[in-house]
């Protein structure tokens, strides 16, 4: 698996240069951190890659790292799969709260449509180029993005609950 990471990493480095920030092998997943501006180009390249054709988007999710430096506070994780050669890879992009736009990959994968809506719904990450970026699981006028780490599990605006009575 280590050499697969090297192999794909080298091809990506040759093609995109410093848009590939880092590469590593995490347990069984070759993982690449890439610049967010290039994510769609990289996915397009991997879609018709010579070695592996990553034509299946397994999952897409957001992550909030409140303790990271400001530029890397939010992350979007993409997991791609080459079903023919049975190879999986993970791509990550980082973004900051002030510039929370990430290019949408819906033009390449129809799967990404609802997954990006879900990520927007819960993390507030704006996917530019998405055909219909509205909240999906929560109500449309919910004023905040609940999966961000600053929001507690329970509704903080409730005044009828006394935490001290529940050992919290």
């Amino acid at each position: 698996m280590e050499n697969v990471t090297q192999e794909i990493g080298k091809e990506l480095q040759d093609k995109f240069g410093d848009a590939i920030v880092s590469q590593s092998l995490i347990i069984d997943f070759p993982t690449f951190v890439v610049k967010k501006e290039k994510i769609l180009d990289i996915m397009n390249f991997l879609y018709d890659f010579e070695l592996y054709k990553f034509q299946f988007l397994t999952s897409l999710c957001g992550v909030h790292f409140p303790d990271n430096v400001k530029e890397e506070e939010y992350s979007v994780v993409y997991q791609l799969h080459d079903l023919v050669r049975n190879q999986r890879i993970r791509l990550k992009v980082f973004t900051s709260e002030s510039q929370i736009q990430v290019p949408s990959v819906t033009s390449l994968f129809s799967t990404a449509n609802w997954l990006e809506r879900e990520t927007f719904d819960f993390f507030g990450i704006q996917f530019t180029g998405h055909p219909n970026l509205v909240k999906i699981l929560n109500m449309e006028d919910q004023p905040y993005f609940p999966m961000r780490k600053q929001y507690p599990l329970e509704d903080g605006t409730r005044e009828d609950k006394d935490d001290s009575k529940f050992g919290r």
């Binding site: 995490i26 347990i27 997943f29 034509q55 299946f56 988007l57 397994t58 999952s59 999710c61 992550v63 909030h64 994780v77 997991q79 079903l83 049975n86 999986r88 993970r90 994968f109 129809s110 799967t111 449509n113 609802w114 997954l115 879900e118 819960f122 999906i136 699981l137 929560n138 109500m139 449309e140 609940p146 999966m147 599990l153």
Partner: protein
């Protein structure tokens, strides 16, 4: 969308001569809480706008506030038709992160339970397809068999629907004799029930006329939409997680992956039907090859010690206390593990920062991913076909909304 926008849209649609039909959220034919606002031209569907999230329970947020062993109960509320698969999927994710090797016997017992769950899941889906075409009796016959699967769960863990089966590191207890008796009886009776069910439906002229060509999707579109599981295989792609990346000793068993051709309702029905036969064969092989040995890995800081030891042994008491308080040491790292759930690739993407709860747990829920193709699949179809398509996709509301 606010009310004035909705009114404007409605007027626009009605000006074109179409009518609007609100299907759901609690329509008896949708078997769950699904709402679709359909634009209809007579009986033909022009467009559909699905609304999801009616039973959203914030599982991913809940998981960030729970100790690792407490997340099992969250998973079995996703696809509640095959909860053991979800439970074990989560346990295997944790085992992958912790680097635990589970003994063979536990792996085989898990396989037996997961295949029983798959049979129960497919039985519901296929019999409901029958009901939606107007054939109620098949449903009644096979529900007897599903009940038997639930009784087996009951013997093993005490619960029926939300099983909370197994522990991180293995199973909580071996199967009792009564469970084995019921499993053997089930293996005997299921083929007969399936035969009876297939005689009723699979070559039934009316059933075939209703389902062939209803809600088709091509292999290319299905892959682009991220389909997995029986729905993808019905379109002709032989992707199965059990074979692509074997887990829990699936490589030890010999089984076929049925595939369809057209990806329509009939193919989905037939693929599920054949998968039940294959699952039965896997269960038989697992029973025949079942090795002796322990049912859990030797990981005292993760796996709860037996109760007698807790009361009589200092160390066991300490471990019991630490585990229950969620103070097990879990390394920082990230891991993705997927299992072949009843509906497709059920994935767990877990980021741990070494704390007592996950830093982030993202659930790849197959239903959520493929339900977005529903609009495309029913455009131009009749309303009655849309109902059939929904039931043959086997969209489970709990998994859709998580």
């Amino acid at each position: 969308m606010n009310t004035t926008d909705l009114e404007k849209k409605r007027a626009e649609i009605e000006k074109q001569g179409y009518s609007i039909l609100n299907l759901g959220p609690t329509h008896p034919a949708t078997h769950g809480i699904f709402q679709n606002i359909l634009t209809m031209d007579g009986d033909i569907i022009i467009d559909a706008v699905p609304t999801v999230g009616y039973i959203h329970r914030a599982f991913e947020k809940l998981a960030e506030r729970r100790a690792y062993y407490q997340i099992t109960t969250i998973t079995d509320r996703m696809n509640y038709c095959s909860s053991p698969i979800n439970n074990f999927g989560w346990h295997m994710t944790m085992e992958k992160l912790l680097g635990i090797e589970v003994p063979k016997r536990a792996q085989y017992l898990r396989v037996i339970l997961m295949e029983l769950a798959r049979i129960a899941d497919h039985l519901i889906c296929n019999s409901v397809i029958g009901v939606d075409t107007g054939a109620l009796s098949g449903f009644l016959y096979v529900f007897q068999e599903r009940e038997k699967v639930y009784e087996i769960y009951e013997e093993i863990c005490g619960a029926r629907l939300t099983t909370n089966l197994g522990r991180i590191g293995g199973l909580e207890r071996d199967f009792p004799k009564k469970a084995w008796d019921k499993i053997h009886a089930f293996i005997e009776s299921l083929p007969k029930a399936l035969d009876e069910f297939e005689t009723l439906l699979s070559r039934n002229r009316i059933f075939m006329d209703r389902t062939i060509g209803a809600g088709p999707i091509s292999a290319e579109r299905a892959l682009n939409y991220g389909f997995t599981g029986p729905n993808l295989r019905a379109a002709g792609v032989d992707y199965d997680v059990r074979v692509a990346t074997p887990y829990s000793s699936y490589e030890d068993f010999d089984f076929q992956i049925p595939v369809g051709v057209n990806g329509d309702t009939y193919d989905r029905f037939m693929v599920r039907q054949e998968e039940m036969h294959q699952s039965l064969s896997i269960i038989k092989q697992a029973i025949a090859k079942l090795p002796e040995g322990p049912i859990h890995a030797d990981v005292p800081d993760i796996y709860l010690p037996p109760k007698e030891e807790v009361y009589n042994n200092m160390e066991a008491l300490i471990y019991q206390f630490k585990i229950v308080m969620g103070e097990s040491n879990v390394p920082a790292g990230e891991v993705y593990h997927s299992v072949e759930g009843g509906n497709g690739e059920l994935g767990f993407y877990l980021i741990s920062d070494g704390g007592r709860t996950p830093f982030r747990l993202s659930l790849r829920r197959p239903c959520f991913i493929y339900y977005q193709a529903y609009t495309e699949m029913i455009k131009g179809a009749m309303l009655s076909d849309a109902i059939l398509t929904l039931s043959s996709l086997n969209v489970i509301a709990g998994e859709l909304d998580a």
